[in-house]
């Protein structure tokens, strides 16, 4: 895994966590590049937040990566700078987990793991029943795949040939530190899914995987290899930084690593 992309978005995340006292910086850095590619190239942004039946859906099942979603939404003009700046404040539509009841561009309220993925299956099923267009993307953590509902819904999705569904597993090794079997791909394969792999920090590989999934008549999973805390070495891994709030000094160190100020 090479250079770090989206440095400015990473810096924005760190600053918002510092200012608000809430957020999961390493988890956001893990998924940021995937979310950015989704909205940059694969989701029809003009229909986000609309009631158009053919719109694409993105459900962030890994809800604690919310800030990665928010900064991308702001980058593409789907929320305003003022809305993003309100993050974590009383009355804001945006805080540590996404809440669909507070803003039209948020598709699902998540936070308790194992909910967003099966809801995405339901949305994909609904589109299939209505024969409407658009695709349904959901992003789950690899640790989240320990939840039974993931596999219940994965089984259902394959049996109903939900080719309009794409799940992305943020394989940042949260799961591996807990349970050592490294078989996400083979499990999804056994469940009847179209299984792809990608470097979750490579624009080229993420775009290629998301593009190739369009042709699939069965649900696709992209197992995206990522680094938790990508871009800032001292944040990386599964230690104290998972839900740690940076001090003023920490923030300066993070921004230095990101080449920001």
């Amino acid at each position: 895994m090479g250079k770090t992309n989206n440095l400015e978005l990473r810096a924005e995340i760190a600053k918002l966590v510092h200012a608000s006292g809430e957020g999961h910086i390493p988890s956001c850095f893990s998924i940021l590049d995937i979310v950015e590619r989704l909205y940059a190239q694969h989701i029809n942004r003009y229909l986000v937040g609309s009631s158009n039946p053919d719109r694409d859906f993105f459900i962030l099942s890994k809800g604690h990566g919310a800030l990665a979603l928010y900064v991308v939404l702001k980058k593409f003009g789907l929320i305003s700078s003022a809305e993003l700046s309100s993050y974590g404040q009383a009355g804001s539509a945006f805080a540590g987990h996404p809440d669909r009841t507070k803003h039209d561009v948020i598709e699902a309220s998540t936070g308790s793991l194992g909910h967003g993925f099966p809801m995405a299956v339901g949305v994909a099923l609904g589109k299939q029943i209505k024969r409407s267009g658009g695709r349904v993307f959901t992003l789950v953590g690899d640790g989240e795949t320990h939840e039974g509902t993931i596999w219940e819904a994965a089984h259902f999705a394959a049996n109903h040939s939900l080719g309009n569904l794409v799940a992305i597993v943020d394989r940042n090794e949260s799961a591996l530190q807990l349970l050592k079997r490294d078989d996400t791909e083979s499990k999804f394969k056994a469940f009847g899914w179209n299984v792809l792999s990608a470097d979750g920090h490579s624009k080229k590989e993420i775009d290629a995987a998301l593009s190739s999934s369009v042709a699939s008549e069965i649900p696709t999973v992209i197992v995206a290899k990522t680094i938790k805390g990508k871009g800032v070495p001292f944040l990386q891994g599964h230690g104290q930084w998972h839900h740690k709030i940076p001090t003023d000094i920490d923030l300066q160190a993070i921004l230095r690593e990101l080449g920001s100020s």
């Binding site: 909910h115 339901g122 039974g148």
Partner: protein
């Protein structure tokens, strides 16, 4: 016809005029939905044995405009899947109809795993939910239709298989409104919730023989939430002892709810006959009603005691 049969029949009737209705079942009652499946193959899913995912999938369907009807055995639909009901529907302001089968002891001999006496207050704790315990086809039909006409939030129907009675179809029914079944002129009232209507009516019939002057008033409740408290007060006025009978946990049931919120005047008091703790016994439906004090015999004795005639 069983309540489940009525449920399937009404679902089909509703689906004919509302293309947004989708039925999800957890490998139960599929025989009753044969006609539904034949008419609407795209809107009927026997999801399999995956109750929490079934609830979340229903939430996804609701996100794109469907009205899901989700059905399986009560403890699995509610207790196993409670977080899905709470978060995916309650928190997200999404709507679905959940219909369970299994009163407290309908599956009496299957033991604790299939008993269900916590579900109603659990669902009622979710903001915006409406919770019903119908005992007759008339109630179920009327309430299901009213829910569809006022779609929103969780609606939960707990269907029972034991003690289903023919409720007078002429009785007007409205969501939240208690029903006066027997106008006693005495100071004691008995309130039945859902299937306990059967045992309460039997106990009162016996009491007519053992103590004809009993004067006990009988009010029946099919809507646990919402419930019109003003109507309850009106129906219970001039009584000073109200006995609430329910196949629910006593601490979380209708008796507790009315005791906290009804505010009866003077020295009037509300007491409950319900289920305390876990019921670990096997036995018939009647055996478990007896052991929990909810059989018609037990209720007759309780009423005689309240009347000072034991």
């Amino acid at each position: 016809m069983s309540l489940r049969g009525t449920f399937a029949e009404v679902s089909l009737e509703l689906a004919k005029s509302d293309p947004s209705i989708v039925v999800l079942v957890g490998d139960i009652s599929h025989g009753l939905f044969t006609e539904f499946r034949a008419k609407f193959p795209d809107r009927y899913f026997n999801v399999g044995i995956m109750e929490p995912a079934m609830a979340s999938i229903a939430a996804g369907l609701a996100m794109v405009g469907f009205k899901p009807i989700v059905h399986t055995i009560a403890p699995f639909l509610v207790e196993r899947s409670f977080e899905q009901l709470k978060l995916d529907f309650g928190y997200q302001n999404l709507s679905a109809m959940f219909v369970s089968v299994g009163g407290a002891f309908d599956y009496s001999n299957l033991g604790c795993t299939h008993h269900s006496y916590l579900d109603i207050p659990m669902v009622a704790s979710i903001e915006g939910s409406r919770v019903f315990s119908p005992v007759s086809a008339h109630e179920l039909r009327a309430l299901m239709r009213q829910v569809m006409d006022t779609w929103g939030g969780i609606s939960y129907f707990k269907l029972t298989e034991n003690g289903v009675m023919t409720y007078p179809s002429s009785t007007p029914l409205e969501i939240g409104e208690p029903v006066l079944v027997r106008l006693g002129i005495g100071r004691i009232a008995i309130v039945s919730l859902g299937p306990t209507l059967v045992q309460v009516q039997d106990a009162l019939s016996r009491l007519e023989i053992s103590y004809p002057e009993n004067g006990v008033r009988h009010v029946h409740v099919h809507s646990f939430e919402p419930i019109n408290l003003e109507s309850c007060r009106n129906l219970l006025q001039n009584t000073d002892r109200v006995i609430v009978v329910e196949q629910l946990n006593s601490l979380q049931g209708l008796g507790s709810k009315l005791a906290i919120s009804l505010g009866l005047p003077g020295n009037a008091r509300i007491e409950g006959i319900g289920i305390n703790g876990f019921v670990r016994d096997y036995g018939s439906y009647q055996d478990l009603l007896t052991s929990t004090g909810l059989s018609e015999d037990c209720l007759e004795l309780a009423l005689l005691k309240a009347l000072g005639q034991e």
